[in-house]
Symmetry: C2
Subunit: 236 residues, 2 copies
């Protein structure tokens, strides 16, 4: 039996096709693509080769017409009575999202969060290769987490160049985030994935993507409080 | 000098005021409130007692008129020449978001991610108390992470009742997420914070908030690829 990696290795991602597509897809659709990516992966894993917009609609809890609209944007035309070709859609979405770009990443901050991140299968699934970690803690420097070596933060510039790193993942304490980001502007990275909660101000065209997990916790608390509230008042 | 906890302890959150406000604020504003919450905390930490919409606008990279509109929604009326009262706004936002509700949470899955989460200051900042962890690994059961005890997952129902837990945080492997969630429908929780990547299907009114960190990574990759692409074509 094939394992998961083999299944996805069979799917060729033609990076050369990115150019033409990229300019046609609206930002709103782009924002929804990672979700399609996840569901299509799931379908591939299940061995499904085709899917109807009605099935996708049910899985994803989005209207079938929204799905048809979204997928039509990048030439994912379903056929009456056949539906969509799962591999084709998956490949197209990978292309548009840059999954085939082979980006290399480094995690700065080898604490709990940094360690949890590098051990997650998330990177491999998305074609990102984590190649180095950094920390200030001398007792960690030189060690490895899996196959990933931990370097001293003082070596950031050198190692980023040696490893041709595209993405810096910031998981160090908030108070060091801004100065680290400023150092990173002197490297060749394309983007920062920022978990520190610090709003970074950079004079550079480096892309910054902030993750505020706490915002999601607050949304949850709000919804629970609201439900309790409605429950209480309807019970009166 | 006061430490951070003391500063925020001085701010009283009047939970009784939640009812009236909650129904007036639109979902779009609610979605933006966690961000205001973060910035207002930062201002309080810096000792600022008032802030203008122009200052907030600059900090948050949102138009001043958007800010005025948002804050007016819940009676946060700025005064000409004075601006907004930071503590008042912070308290109001905490009320609306349920920060003063004193929700109790348990983490199911004491691996890297679960451990990273419980060690983060995120919960305390948002008034959520993590009181228990669970794992299947017998070598972890009975141990403590900080002051939080790790229980056997077989005890979920009993411990959730004993500790009156409101929120279950799922950080176990994906394949056990659905069955665990189904067990949770037999407890009194109000919400599930789901990090497993598994789309949960429950016949219950439990609120589910999914965290897909990988989606954010894909957005970042897309933006980097797009910029590279534009850079390449403009260089031609």
């Amino acid at each position: 039996m094939k394992n998961e990696k083999d299944i996805f290795d069979d799917i060729e991602i033609d990076v050369s096709a990115i150019d033409a597509e990229k300019h046609a897809v609206s930002p709103a659709v782009i924002k929804r693509l990672p979700r399609y990516f996840r569901y299509l992966r799931e379908l591939i894993r299940m061995g499904k080769t085709r899917v109807s917009s009605a099935e996708l609609s049910k899985m994803m809890n989005v209207t079938a017409s929204q799905i048809r609209q979204d997928l039509n944007c990048f030439g994912g035309f379903g056929q009456q009575g056949y539906g969509y070709n799962v591999n084709y859609l998956y490949t197209k979405i990978c292309e548009i999202l840059g999954v085939g770009c082979g980006f290399r990443a480094a995690v700065i901050g080898a604490g709990n969060l940094g360690s949890a991140l590098v051990k997650s299968p998330m990177f491999e699934k998305r074609g990102v290769d984590v190649v180095a970690m950094f920390d200030v803690d001398e007792s960690l420097v030189g060690k490895r987490l899996g196959h990933i070596r931990i370097f001293n933060v003082s070596d950031i510039e050198r190692i980023f160049e040696d490893y041709a790193i595209d993405i810096a993942i910031l998981t160090m304490p908030k108070e060091f985030a801004q100065e680290t980001a400023e150092r990173l502007t002197r490297t060749n990275i394309g983007g920062i994935w920022n978990f520190t909660g610090k709003e970074l101000k950079l004079e550079s065209d480096i892309v910054i993507e902030n993750v505020h997990i706490g915002d999601s916790l607050m949304t949850l608390c709000y919804e629970i409080a609201r439900k309790k509230d409605n429950g209480d008042s309807s019970a009166k």
